[in-house]
Symmetry: C3
Subunit: 139 residues, 3 copies
């Protein structure tokens, strides 16, 4: 049994979902393990992680629109807006989705379903560089 | 230290929460470990996982009703409805709950609290067969 | 490779977020590992876990206020109120946030971002003693 640690930087172009399944799978493949557990951890409080459908692109737009409705930019709704009107909604959307994900590895493959992709969900208006820590344990 | 991998198929009868705590605990018991970490991963984007109270059945109904209200079936609200009006709400409800859960094992027991059960949350109207991948590491 | 298990009790004073990053980090430091995976698991269905910004205190108040709005105390909205009007909203808020978190450890440090803290989110009105199970695997 052994473990591997690393990190991946994801460039975002403002609000929305960025798929990075291939980069996660490549990093896992480089570690040369057949069975184990991958954990990915987003080191930010205004971007988050999500497993979502990777077939229809409308799903991503509908999801983004949904979170705009459920946690809207609204200066009257929040005390905290140090970094602008998208600051507090970003923290809320992060709380409602995931900061970390763990995915089993078996037969050298991540156990994602046929339609599942790994996404970083950017919640700020401006482009950001986001760092995700990766940890793999297995053999 | 060693690890075990497996999967469980859960039959659903349409929308709602299905408890499968006993099946998870049985699988763990079969692996014969005393201490470790169980990770369960739902391989679908229109069903999800949840730890919830397993005492009062009204909790499950109230939870299901809540998600109907917060992410309603509404053809006008979403672009994506390839598989019907329950398609996009299913993805949203999955995003708001969990695709994976990790539960420590100690003294041969999952560290669930007294009132905690493991649920699969089906978000589609029709019955489905759902696959959950399991991974246990420990000794 | 080895593992360590433990638990931490967190006293809450009613609804709101309680930061306990330092206690988690201290427990991890005591285990003397450099690289691994920490998993924390909240053994309750009316309190949850959250990674959130630990700089501006307004963030915590805004988050708490948001969940009051999105999952309000409203006797007419739920069938289940065995333990009072804060009972069912507590389960819903738990479902929307996290029951467990996994955080990679590298170089002897939890891979939290600069502004990330670990919080217990109490959803009941009255003070409670909450138990969080901890599991660390690595070396």
């Amino acid at each position: 049994m052994r473990q591997a640690s690393g990190s991946i930087t994801i460039e975002t172009s403002g609000k929305g979902l960025v798929e990075w399944t291939d980069r996660a799978a490549s990093w896992v493949a480089e570690q040369g393990m057949a069975e184990g557990l991958l954990t990915i951890f987003c080191r930010h409080t205004s971007a988050s992680l999500l497993i979502q459908e990777n077939a229809a692109p409308e799903v991503r737009d509908d999801l983004a629109a949904y979170f705009e409705r459920i946690a809207p930019e609204d200066r009257n709704a929040y005390d905290h807006d140090d970094e602008g009107p998208d600051d507090m909604p970003a923290h809320i959307r992060t709380a409602l989705t995931d900061t970390h994900l763990s995915i089993p590895l078996f037969g050298g493959q991540l156990m994602l379903g046929t339609w599942q992709g790994i996404y970083l969900f950017e919640h700020r208006r401006r482009p950001h560089r986001r760092t995700v820590a990766l940890h793999l344990i297995g053999e």
